[in-house]
Symmetry: C2
Subunit: 402 residues, 2 copies
Amino acid sequence: MSSASFDFAPLLPAGLPPPAARWSGRVKHDFTGGNNDADRLPLEGLIAAADAVLRREGRTLSTYGLNSGPQGYRALREFLVAKLRSDAGIACTADDILITSGSLQALDLVNGTLLARGDTVVIEEDCYQGSINRLTRLGVTPVGIPLDRDGMRIEVLSTALDDLKRKGIRPKYIYTIPTVQNPTGTILPVERRQEMLRLSAAHGVPIFEDDCYADLIWSGERPPALYAMSKRGGVIHIGSFSKSIAPALRVGYIVAPWDVMSRTLALKTDGGSGALEQMVLAEYCARHFSTHVPALRRGLRAKLETLMESLKEHFGAAAQFDDPKGGIFLWVKLPDGVDTMKLYEPALAAGVAINPGPQWSVNKDHGRSRLRLCFASPSHEEIQGGVAALAEVCRREFGVPA
Amino acid sequence: MSSASFDFAPLLPAGLPPPAARWSGRVKHDFTGGNNDADRLPLEGLIAAADAVLRREGRTLSTYGLNSGPQGYRALREFLVAKLRSDAGIACTADDILITSGSLQALDLVNGTLLARGDTVVIEEDCYQGSINRLTRLGVTPVGIPLDRDGMRIEVLSTALDDLKRKGIRPKYIYTIPTVQNPTGTILPVERRQEMLRLSAAHGVPIFEDDCYADLIWSGERPPALYAMSKRGGVIHIGSFSKSIAPALRVGYIVAPWDVMSRTLALKTDGGSGALEQMVLAEYCARHFSTHVPALRRGLRAKLETLMESLKEHFGAAAQFDDPKGGIFLWVKLPDGVDTMKLYEPALAAGVAINPGPQWSVNKDHGRSRLRLCFASPSHEEIQGGVAALAEVCRREFGVPA
């Protein structure tokens, strides 16, 4: 027997993603990822909630699914019923909600329910990287619909659905982040929502509504969810507590009619999502969600203003962006000569992490000179220092800003 | 536009599992699932741990992965390094460990790293339902190896590997629960472990070692893990806190060499496993794991004795079983005329939930008159009442016990 180490390579199936690199620690100026503002984390409230709910119901941790069954902790679903009604206009019951391990598991479960290799979906052209990557891994073709300042361009959606129909292709869903779109920060107006629902019904293509950032609108007022506006039930709605409370608590949810929910639930073979996180969130949110979120929004808005001012100061007219209507990210256009995929490495070497545009768009050319900057986690000083450092690298690499 | 509700049915891909049924609440006498003893849950310790760790490090919840990167909370991995060394003889570092959302996610991730549709794996003939079901869903063929009172029969494993080789089939792994096997409760002796490792190396087939129940050995002493005994690194090891602390806390782990770990980690696209549960477990376990587990074992052993006595009282010689060496379940053989798949429904109607043998075996005939009874969750009185009720149903349906 050889003493050489066991060789796993011949056993790996085709199509695996490249191996992960070893983690090398956090970056000094990190403008990536959905990390949140540590100063706005409601830590005292979460500590009190953990103590209260564990003293009252902690014994139920000895049972998979607590005493709530496979759809998740009942009290959290009851909180969501009330929240979704008051915020998003959704009329549902706790039986229509499935608690998931973050909205990423919600994406996986909905994809597992509807998609097979070779399928086609319609998606916003600039879109969440995690959603795009999932489609790529599944061998599903995304048809990108461009956005303007009011989100997805519905006349292009209409043409795209007609084109697909002519080719005999029925897309499996229209994926949209209509309320604080990632990465553009746009909000789809009510009229466009109505038109999207009309197209969805006419083509028999359901809408997959990702509402992860909808709590973070500066004005505090949002249009009703597509799920709420649908008269025919052809919408699957997902959301998360990652942006409103804390991303490391992995709690999201799916709202769907039972004919879909029963298929999705059959795919959730994970023994339930983390119960302690659900319990603490339910206990905290039932009392404090409605006061916590406005305070969080104010803090985020202030950081966004620091970011926009820093970009003006260090990039001048070279950095173009719209003031987003909410959220934790800014979608920035640099001059055409800048390739943000090539900006990424030298920026990282200078201690600045960015999301290059091509990773956040199904149209790589369109994304080429764009980048996403997340502003919730770094401090005001880190934002200022990071933008200054990024401008220096960009000038050195691309002569921009001049 | 029709007012009929949206029809998702034409959009569902082939091969979905059947829809889930609506949850109808817990059963009176529940002998299924890995639920634990609520009286032995270390609730005060967990409450104190939650308070301490949140006060000290709670701010890190605002960042995905805390400050520990994608492999999970560093302090929990450090606890595991020490625990795996002292209990299982495993020499590893925190970099060799990936924290998962329960060992079920560990199963999914390892399967995702190694398996493709059409593959073959070798597995204990009587085996954990969740592992069997995963293989079925993936379109992977399990080759079952029978067990005796010392676990997997190595001479049959040797023959099976030779047979497969002759057919040109290289199995992707040998899956085993060597230390308190599910459902048989057996422990694979050191000599068989050595022989299994020799066969693994000779055939180039890695071992997938599932050690989920290994903490619950009555004697408190276990053989070294296969991972520890391997000289060549061809073992992937998984474990869980579900059985030792609480199943609703969804925390498991994978130990693997980096050439596998880097591929597995690339498949873990969930934004990290629940951080609060990891933090609370690390804080609690570092101080109390070594005193908590022996107390838990004593309580479980007492319940097992109640179960075995109840079976003797109500079934007499009709119920055959070996006294398991640890764990939370008993694997019972009834007379050949009993079909436990057909016993399931009438038992449930009488308020008794059982695991029918065919669901816990890749050999349906072998499993036909067997059943698994989990004894950790029901009280002593519920165990006695449940066995009495089960005997009554079994007598009515099958004339057994006479």
